[in-house]
């Protein structure tokens, strides 16, 4: 408790609070610009943190990242350009909501849901961080393989066009993930000797192209966006009602997010997809998913931010960063003499708690900043669609160029946009493709690694207790799904037969 009071003293002073606020505003701007990512915002901030005291420095990184990731939902909602792999899971719903004139509600659910999820993650971690970190450390490639495999099966569930089209889209995504050097042995695949292709297909240009460019192509000829206006006085109107209605989703999403987020490298991206499909699976109205329904949005949004908080745990407790953002943050921690590792918890618990408090503040800051952002978002619908499209395309080009600083990203984005346009015209959903690109390398890497460790023995996947449980659960879920599909086909056959026997 004494450490907690010390920590509060470290955070609640003018310098730190001002830093948190300014970094949050910076993160909001970078995150809200389509195609610019939280990673980029963080990397840009690092040279500035060289000149700051330790706690403000790390506070700047944390609040900037948290805000950039939440703000990444804005272009997703308004322009159908998802900011992160996780937000691609629910971008379809938030965009459709905005098209129905409920942009305020969609942003509101995103922001308030994220704040609640983030605060839940904060409370959860305050008590379980060391335990959770220790548990996450026990996960090897065998356990990760099953988690990733389970994540893949979400594709069939989230697809709005039915299971078979979902599976097809997923396979396309997995194929795209294959291009480039294989992650473990660096063998080039589908590269045709091209240097750019050897670097692999970057995720961001493909995502931007598939979601945004295809939408530009569809709406290109319309002069005005025929979008009903949202409530101007209170853009968040109806948000609390929606959150209360789907409170079960909110809680479940937060819990799953907190748990999965602690797994380095996997958690954050995977968790939102899993909870979105879980929401659809358990929903009373699954047919509304993907057409502007708040239920999945509530659950996946909460998951996203809860996972974001807990993704810092393995980074802080064991110095194992899960993604580029936490890797940068670990660098800043070390540089400022706050060595990540167990000593951060034992020798300097006040520093650890200070970091946690910054999390809470950054999350609460999202409310007013998100509200302002939502309120100013309305002009987007007042701009003629043709002009708006030109601006979106410009952002798409800048965003895809900036990933590797090469024109290759831009061509990739345009190509992906055209492919997505054709696919969507054939009612094939885009989300499973994105899922395939995100999870493909995870499934593959963990499968190959596991096979090398177990000398090619497939039973190795059941050789460790946790892996065995995961494996059995995954196989059961698949078994049930296949069984139901076959039963459905048989029943349809019977109906057809009985129908043909008794012509009316």
């Amino acid at each position: 408790m004494e450490a907690f009071a010390l920590a509060a003293g470290l955070v609640f002073n003018f310098e730190t609070l001002l830093t948190i606020f300014m970094a949050a505003v910076f993160g909001l701007f970078v995150g809200a610009i389509p195609g610019l990512t939280a990673t980029m915002a963080t990397a840009l901030l690092v040279p500035i943190t060289f000149y700051m005291a330790p706690i403000p420095a790390i506070a700047a990184i944390i609040s900037c990242t948290a805000m950039a990731i939440t703000a990444g939902d804005l272009p997703g909602t308004l322009l159908r350009i998802p900011g992160t792999p996780a937000s691609a899971a629910y971008v379809e719903d938030s965009y459709r909501l905005a098209q129905k004139g409920k942009a305020g509600l969609a942003i509101g659910i995103g922001v308030v849901g994220s704040v609640l999820g983030g605060l839940f993650g904060f409370l959860f971690l305050l008590f379980t961080a060391p335990m959770l970190a220790k548990a996450a450390l026990g996960f090897s490639s065998f356990e990760y393989f099953w988690l990733a495999a389970l994540g893949l099966s979400c594709a069939a569930l989230i697809s709005s066009g039915g299971m078979i089209k979902g599976a097809l889209a997923l396979l396309l995504g997995l194929f795209i993930a294959q291009i480039g050097m294989d992650p473990l042995t660096a063998t080039p695949r589908f590269t045709f000797g091209n240097l750019e292709l050897m670097g692999g297909i970057s995720f961001i240009p493909v995502m931007i192209g598939m979601f945004a460019v295809s939408e530009i192509m569809r709406s290109g000829r319309r002069a005005m966006a025929e979008v009903p206006q949202m409530n101007l006085k209170n853009p968040f109107e109806g948000t609390l009602g929606a959150l209360w209605k789907y409170r079960k989703n909110q809680v479940r999403g937060s819990i799953i997010g907190s748990l999965l987020g602690a797994l380095p490298g996997v958690g954050g991206d995977l968790a939102a997809w899993i909870t979105y499909s879980l929401a659809k699976r358990t929903s009373k109205e699954p047919e509304k998913f993907g057409k502007g329904h708040p239920e999945g949005l509530v659950e996946a949004g909460a998951t996203n931010n809860a996972a974001l908080s807990s993704s810092w745990i393995p980074a802080m407790v064991f110095g194992i960063p899960g993604d580029a953002v936490t890797a940068i943050a670990v660098g800043v921690l070390v540089m400022k003499g706050l060595d990540p590792g167990p000593t951060l918890m034992t020798l300097h618990p006040e520093n650890f708690y200070a970091v946690m408090i910054v999390f809470a503040i950054a999350n609460i800051l999202m409310l007013p900043l998100g509200w302002v952002a939502a309120k100013s978002a309305r002009w987007i619908f007042e701009v003629p669609r043709a002009l708006l499209n030109a601006a979106i395309l410009l952002f798409c080009i800048v965003g895809s160029y900036s990933i590797n600083n090469s024109m290759f990203g831009v061509w990739l984005m345009l190509g992906a946009g055209m492919v997505a346009y054709v696919l969507e015209a054939r009612m094939i959903a885009i989300a499973p493709i994105i899922l395939g690109i995100v999870l493909g390398p995870l499934v593959e890497t963990n499968f190959t690694t596991s096979m090398m460790i177990s000398d090619g023995n497939l039973l190795g996947f059941f050789g460790r207790p946790v892996a065995a449980v995961f494996g059995v659960v995954t196989l059961l879920i698949w078994g049930v799904a296949i069984f139901q599909t076959i039963r459905g086909i048989l029943r349809k056959d019977n109906n057809l037969r009985s129908a043909s026997q008794f012509p009316s």
């Binding site: 090897s140 240097l195 380095p264 194992i320 890797a327 660098g331 167990p342 890497t445 090398m452």
Partner: protein, 319 residues
Amino acid sequence: MTLSKKLAGALALSVLAIAPAAAQYPDHAINLIVPWAAGGGTDATGRIVATLLEKELGQPINVINRTGGGGIVGHTEISYSPPDGYTLGIITTELSMYHWTGVSPLNYENYDALALFNADPEAVYVRTDGPDIDALLDQIRANPGQVKASGANLGGMAHLGWAGVLTTNGIDPAAAPWVPSEGASASLQLLASGAITVVTTTMPDARPMVDAGEVKPLIVAANERVANAPDVPTAEEALGNKWAAYAWRGIAAPKGLPEDVKARLVEALDKVLTSAEFTEFMAQRNFGVDYRDAADFTAFMQDADASIGQALTAVGLAK
């Protein structure tokens, strides 16, 4: 003032501004290409060098992360850029490997070396309850194939560091196979979770896990003990056979830099890399400082090229 007078004034001013600058390098922003992703060790060290060099040269330096292809994309771009001093790059250990493994013809001769600023030796880690180095090697001799090792990609410095420990002690590298991974973090996680037995990596990468009491270092493949970890014996001290494997980072330009530009850069880098700010930063991040000027750096890469060729041949990866 009439418009024409204003224009004339502006023109005169700009001529004044350009005239002295044109004679002297650098007169505009410099790009520094980092062939690895933002947030990694190469990026972190590259950015601090850029920040300090910026002050020294008086022109902005843009750090550009050109990632992909295991560093080949960025390394290639540095070598292809015009040798005018306005494109520099960070080059890393992997440069010594590309031409041996046949993935790219690039080697150190494609660059004008400017300065080496970092080198860290590879160290061997096991779980805290794991065997000591003699027991480990005995286990490998007794049960070939049972012990799995990891640390980074196949044929990377961590892999060669481990293969060298085995070959210098008369063990076939195939007796303790390498499980490639995406990097030190992923490998340390495999080690901590009990899926594999050995990890080789550099000391800064493993330090949090050592502090956490999850893993312990056995030996370090270095010429002498490391200042930060004086208790860890070198390979030679522990096993009697000399073996050193360093992962390094340096700064270079495309081949064919004009002499005056090169001299200016070498002089500026000498100040930057010996400055208190730089050494302090490197010490805080646990990076080993190994400063060598242009000539020494070229010789260093020449040696590294030859010894890595031998090691890659030993593990059967050289083509």
